[in-house]
């Protein structure tokens, strides 16, 4: 391992070696994580619903997702005749962008981080908006009424929920004084942020769930209303890309929540990277738990919840927290 690293650095120089290794690492992580999360979701759903979930392929069905993936890859890529071809093909690719870029700045442990940018957090939120763009592209290009309605709902929902999301993030920044991800983690060396601002953590998780279109906020792909929502016309691997991107986005949201509120990789005894994944997957489990427990909100209720409850709550929290911080400092 070490020899390989020295060889790479020697031939490519440290920067290029880091880029290539980072890229490979992120690709592997995104795929493995998606495979694992799809399996985990099916198991969690199964046990919540008084059944077992996948059991046949591999021990406890762990290989089920891989088999499903092979099936999806081997399927024909159907492009319906009436679609806008360019956008239709591009949308599943764009949807992966935020997942890939976001992972660049996330600190998995003290040293395990591809790039510690001084605007790390900004980068994540800037690119996470690409998710909406991809959904809009896919929904619009499919030229299907259900897809269009799903896309419209998605844009309205994501734009609305980004406001309280970012307001809670500002509270964190007041304490850490930096957008650099490692500084945010270091600012929680004594106490995790969630202890000081549980309300912000809660609002963040609610908004993150809405941002990733997860139930009970899965209105853009509300199956019982809009058939498949924005991905109604997608099939085969293109559909799988949307599917995998959803899980990658959940991972990113949970990873950001871990970094912002739960001390990132910090924790006793175990190595940082273990702590980081433990916390992240615990948060993801909560998101799954919520999904399989609650029915879906109606669209107007969803918007009212955001504009009338979450945004005022986040604003008040920000002001109060800033005031307290001013007094303490």
């Amino acid at each position: 391992m070490n020899a390989a690293w020295h060889y790479l650095v020697g031939t490519l120089g440290p920067d290029l070696a880091r880029i290539i290794l980072g890229l490979v690492g992120i690709l592997v992580l995104v795929q493995l994580n998606a495979v694992f999360l799809v399996w985990l979701e099916r198991k969690v759903a199964g046990h919540i619903q008084a059944r077992l979930g996948p059991m046949e392929v591999g021990p406890h069905g762990i290989l089920q997702t891989i088999v499903d993936g092979i099936k999806l890859v081997s399927k024909e890529l159907i492009t319906p005749r009436h679609v806008d071809r360019k956008l239709f093909v591009l949308a599943p690719i764009v949807v992966f962008l935020p997942a890939m870029v976001g992972l660049v700045v996330i600190p998995f442990s003290r040293h395990l981080q591809v790039r510690d940018l001084n605007v790390g957090l900004l980068l994540i939120f800037a690119f996470s908006s690409f998710n909406v763009l991809a959904i809009l592209m896919g929904g619009w290009a499919a030229n299907n009424k259900y897809s269009l309605m799903g896309a419209i709902r998605s844009v309205a929902q994501n734009v609305a929920y980004e406001i309280p999301l970012l307001l809670t993030v500002v509270s964190v920044l007041l304490w850490s004084d930096s957008l650099r991800m490692s500084s945010i983690v270091n600012s929680q060396a004594q106490v995790w942020n969630v202890v000081w601002m549980p309300v912000a953590a809660l609002i963040f998780m609610i908004c993150a769930t809405a941002e990733t279109n997860r139930a009970p906020f899965d209105i853009p792909e509300a199956e019982s209303e809009l058939v498949g929502g924005f991905h109604t016309e997608y099939s085969g691997m293109r559909f799988a890309l949307f599917f995998l991107a959803e899980y990658s986005n959940i991972f990113i949201e949970a990873a950001v929540a871990t970094t912002l509120f739960f001390g990132g990789w910090r924790g006793p005894l175990l190595p940082g990277v273990v702590w980081f994944f433990l916390k992240t997957y615990a948060l993801i489990f909560v998101v799954m738990w919520v999904r399989w427990t609650f029915p879906r909100l109606r669209f107007d209720q969803l918007m009212n919840f955001c504009w009338k409850i979450l945004i005022p709550a986040a604003l008040i929290h920000l002001v109060v927290y800033a005031g307290i911080l001013e007094l303490v400092k």
Binding site: A45, A50, P216, A222, S224, T293, R298, D300, Q301
Partner: protein, 372 residues
């Protein structure tokens, strides 16, 4: 709810076909919806995709031969349709089934009603986006299917009743399994209440949504839980008692507002009442034969006959015209879902697409029953 009303076509007007292939139309129903954004302006339910000509088929079959057709009209309450048809022909011919057969029929019919309501409960929550209750409801329903499978030999389209009795006698295993099921389902009410009835999102989605008040319900000829949710205590089992229902003690739950939440509550309470009926019927189950001997071909005397029963969805009626031969001259089935479905044209305008699914689900239609 919005106050928008149907107006003229503007550039925002949007036509959407909900169905015939759609996850939430419960069969092959097509709703032709005129939308303004997400608001429904007009709706036109288009039926007939599942027409199989059951009524016409009856005209070329002996009375006995039509028996297997009856549970296939409403596949979720087949036993009730089967029972009503047999009771109708018995009324025409004057055949008296032995008391044991009557009690067995009531037990099976009420079990089927509970199964139908459980199926509705799961599917309705699925319409609202909650997947988990579906599995719980199906888990319970599975018990009923096993119990009924034991006596009738089928799990869905029960052809169990015969003119003058039932096809097979029940045994102690059946009675024991039924009693166990009653105990089990009563233990499950707590789960359903915690998971669904007290769920804040569920209440927000259903309260004051799809209000079918007394006026609308009566004008459209609604029956069953839809009518009872509007506050009218109309139940054929009580109003025109048939079989042995007049000897059994049960309540007719009624609602107040007639919204989707009321209809949900009515069905939950009806299941409890059905369990009470089953318990009483099992306690009183008399001995004796299960069938009175009947001729191979029944020939009802000439005339028009109407017989009403309460299916899981409302008043079910068989109108049979006999010309004295072994074939019915004409057979017409009055199904509850038809009237209940038509209320959509009045209730849906002004609601959102999401409410459309919620209201359609809360009415509990079975499309093959409408199409026949």
């Amino acid at each position: 709810m919005s106050t928008r009303t149907p107006e003229t076509v503007t550039e925002h007007t949007f036509y959407l076909n909900l169905g015939p292939q759609h996850p939430s139309t419960h069969g092959v129903l097509r709703l032709f919806v005129k939308l303004d954004g997400e608001y429904v302006m007009e709706v036109d339910p288009i039926i007939g995709y599942g027409h199989r000509g059951h009524e016409k088929m009856a005209e070329s079959h002996f009375y006995e031969q039509f028996l297997p057709n009856t549970p296939r009209m409403d596949y979720l309450s087949g036993m009730l349709f089967n029972h009503a048809y047999v009771a109708a022909v018995e009324k025409m011919t004057g055949i008296k089934p032995p008391p044991r057969a009557e009690y067995i029929r009531v037990v099976c019919a009420e079990l089927n009603r509970v199964a139908s309501h459980l199926m509705w409960l799961g599917a309705y929550l699925m319409d609202l986006g909650g997947v988990t209750p579906f599995f719980y409801a199906f888990d319970d329903r599975e018990n009923i299917l096993d119990i009924l499978d034991r006596v009738s030999g089928s799990r869905l389209t029960y052809n169990y009743c015969r003119f003058g009795g039932v096809a097979r006698d029940v045994d102690d295993t059946f009675i024991g399994a039924t009693r166990d099921f009653i105990k089990r389902l009563r233990g499950r009410w707590k789960d359903y209440n915690n998971l669904v009835t007290k769920n804040v999102i569920f209440i927000h989605r259903t309260r004051d949504v799809g209000v079918i008040d007394k006026d609308i319900a009566l004008r459209f000829g609604c029956t069953g839980p839809v009518l009872r949710a509007a506050g009218v205590p109309y139940d054929v089992r009580r109003v025109e008692p048939y079989s042995v229902y007049s000897e059994l003690d049960f309540e007719i739950p009624t609602g107040v507002n007639g919204d989707a939440l009321d209809r949900y509550m009515i069905r939950l309470r009806e299941m409890e009442q059905s369990l009470r009926i089953i318990e009483q019927a099992l306690d009183r189950l008399p001995g004796g034969p299960i069938r009175t001997p009947t001729p191979n071909k029944v020939r009802p005397p000439k005339g028009d006959y109407y017989f009403a029963a309460e299916s899981a969805r409302g008043a079910l009626g068989y109108y049979i015209v006999s010309d004295g031969s072994e074939y019915p001259y004409r057979l017409k089935v009055r199904v509850p879902s038809y009237g209940n479905l038509q209320t959509l044209t009045e209730v849906l305008p002004g609601t959102l697409v999401a409410d459309t699914i919620c209201i359609l689900g809360s009415i509990d239609i079975v499309v093959p029953e409408i199409d026949r």
